[in-house]
């Protein structure tokens, strides 16, 4: 029986990663030895990310305890975070 469906990889991360294809609604997210509940406004596929908190446009987004890019839009808690609202800080096209 599944006990958590999202994983937060490090303290201070701004995103949680889906461990399965998830439906909208409440979902338990694992961080270290505790679990927090996130509310997803929309379905999220396996391996994709959702915001743990409200993220403002221009803010740096962290995963694995390190920056993975910056927000190109305001992101609501639980919302899908991907190439439509996250831009690499390394690759500048």
């Amino acid at each position: 029986m599944r006990r958590w469906s999202l994983l937060i990889l490090a303290e201070g991360d701004d995103v949680a990663t889906a461990l399965a294809d998830l439906a909208a609604g409440e979902a338990p997210a694992r961080l270290g030895d505790r679990i927090e509940t996130l509310t997803l406004p929309a379905p999220v596929p396996l391996g994709h990310k959702v915001a743990r908190r409200a993220i403002a446009r221009g803010e740096v987004i962290r995963k694995y305890g390190a920056p993975i890019g910056e927000a190109t839009d305001d992101i609501a808690p639980g919302a899908h975070v991907h190439v439509h609202n996250l831009r690499s800080l390394r690759a500048r096209k």
């Binding site: 599944r2 990663t17 461990l19 396996l46 391996g47 694995y64 993975i68 890019g69 996250l86």
Partner: protein, 386 residues
């Protein structure tokens, strides 16, 4: 209790987790004779170098590190060197002899270019070495003698979130036990280089990590490739990866969280215990060969969709967190970590189990790659020949 395994203590104080006799052809010309020798003497492992003349500069230095490194790897109880000229054979033999383990040489020149005479001499020499090696016994040894290479191949969305962090926890356990860990694939640090540099033991080492990535990125740019332009690729993006930073952080997660002690050139010996990064190619065969030449006796190898590559000298233990892969590839995957993805297994408990299994493989339990004789090797090259 300190972690232990049952291994073969070598004269130089290193530990073998296997006890093979290495038949090493140090020149492309003698590969066929070496193959004939290895086929005729069970208990040997063949490594055959396809090049050996017309190389220069760092490319030649790297090839020589590979040859000496394979020969000195403690999984080989003894070494038979097969080559053409006495001078080169003796140069490699001297390096092996310094470890105190038995080494013999057979030279094509000494046989007046008679390849059959060469292999006949080699069969006799290899037979004696195998007989002597069979006298050696395993004994309890501390895990601090283990050197572990870490690689990933054919990754998917499950690798960066589950399999790589799991293997990273095992890497931390081995470093904490006093052992050594190495991972490489320089281009997979691209985008994570600053995070990795931040974990370096000194700022100088951090600068070397960043410089190593820029050097390879420069090589790519010089040939018209932009490594960040289409990276992550469409398949990565469908899998949920949004940036090169995220992709690379997932890749380097397999190295764990301990300080990076240094950047080691491809195939150079690991200077001591702790976590090391190796500057080298990203493709698994040459990358893993670099670790084994550096002295790694074991390899932990994470995969998403599956990857059958295994090293010839070092047991290569396959780990996946993809439930379909674990189910489909039962005779390839050594450790099924899919319960992490299914949210039913504690990450620390899974890491304890994989660490225990690693010690068990070190003590003699065969990996699937060994059972199926999948062992391979590859010599990386830099630059052109004369």
């Amino acid at each position: 209790m300190a972690a232990e395994f049952a291994g073969y203590l070598r004269p130089d104080g290193s530990a073998g987790v296997r006890n093979t006799v290495l038949v090493l052809s140090i020149l492309g010309l003698t590969g066929a004779s070496a193959r004939r020798i290895a086929r005729q003497v069970p208990g040997t492992t063949l490594i055959s170098m396809p090049y050996g003349r017309g190389q220069f500069g760092e490319d030649r230095a790297m090839t020589r590190r590979m040859l000496a490194g394979f020969a000195c790897n403690p999984n080989a109880a003894a070494v038979l060197l097969v080559g053409a000229d006495r001078l080169r054979l003796d140069a490699v033999a001297e390096q092996v002899a310094a470890t105190g383990k038995p080494v013999e040489t057979v030279a094509l020149d000494d046989c007046h270019e008679d390849n059959l005479a060469l292999s006949e001499q080699g069969v006799r020499a290899a037979a004696r070495l195998v007989r002597d090696a069979s006298r050696l016994r395993r004994q309890p040894l501390p895990a601090s003698l283990l050197r572990l290479g870490i690689e990933c191949g054919h990754t998917d969305a499950t690798s960066g979130i589950a399999a790589n962090p799991l293997v990273g926890r095992v890497a931390d356990r081995l470093v904490d036990a006093g052992g050594a860990v190495v991972f490489g694939e320089t281009m997979e640090w691209l985008g994570a280089e600053h995070a990795l540099a931040g974990r370096a033991a000194t700022p100088e080492i951090g600068a070397q990590i960043v410089a190593a990535v820029l050097t390879r990125e420069g090589w790519a740019a010089a040939s018209g490739e932009d490594l960040t332009g289409n990276n992550p690729g469409q398949e990565n993006i469908r899998g949920g990866l949004s940036s090169i930073e995220e992709k690379s952080l997932g890749a380097v997660a397999k190295g764990g969280s301990r300080p990076v002690q240094g950047v080691v050139p491809h195939a150079a010996p690991l200077p001591g215990p702790g976590l090391w990064v190796m500057e080298g190619p990203a493709f698994s065969p040459p990358s893993v060969s670099g670790f084994v030449a550096a002295g790694a006796q074991l390899v932990l190898f994470t995969t998403g969709a599956g990857n059958s590559y295994a090293d010839a000298l070092a047991p290569t233990i396959k780990v996946t967190a993809n439930p379909n892969t674990a189910r489909r590839l039962g005779l390839q995957i050594d450790f099924d970590a899919s319960a992490l993805l299914e949210g039913t297994r504690e990450p620390e408990e899974a890491a304890d189990a994989l660490f225990a299994q690693l010690l068990d493989h070190a003590s003699g339990t065969r990996s699937w790659g060994e059972v199926l004789d999948e062992g391979e090797y590859a010599f990386a090259r830099l630059g052109a020949d004369f």
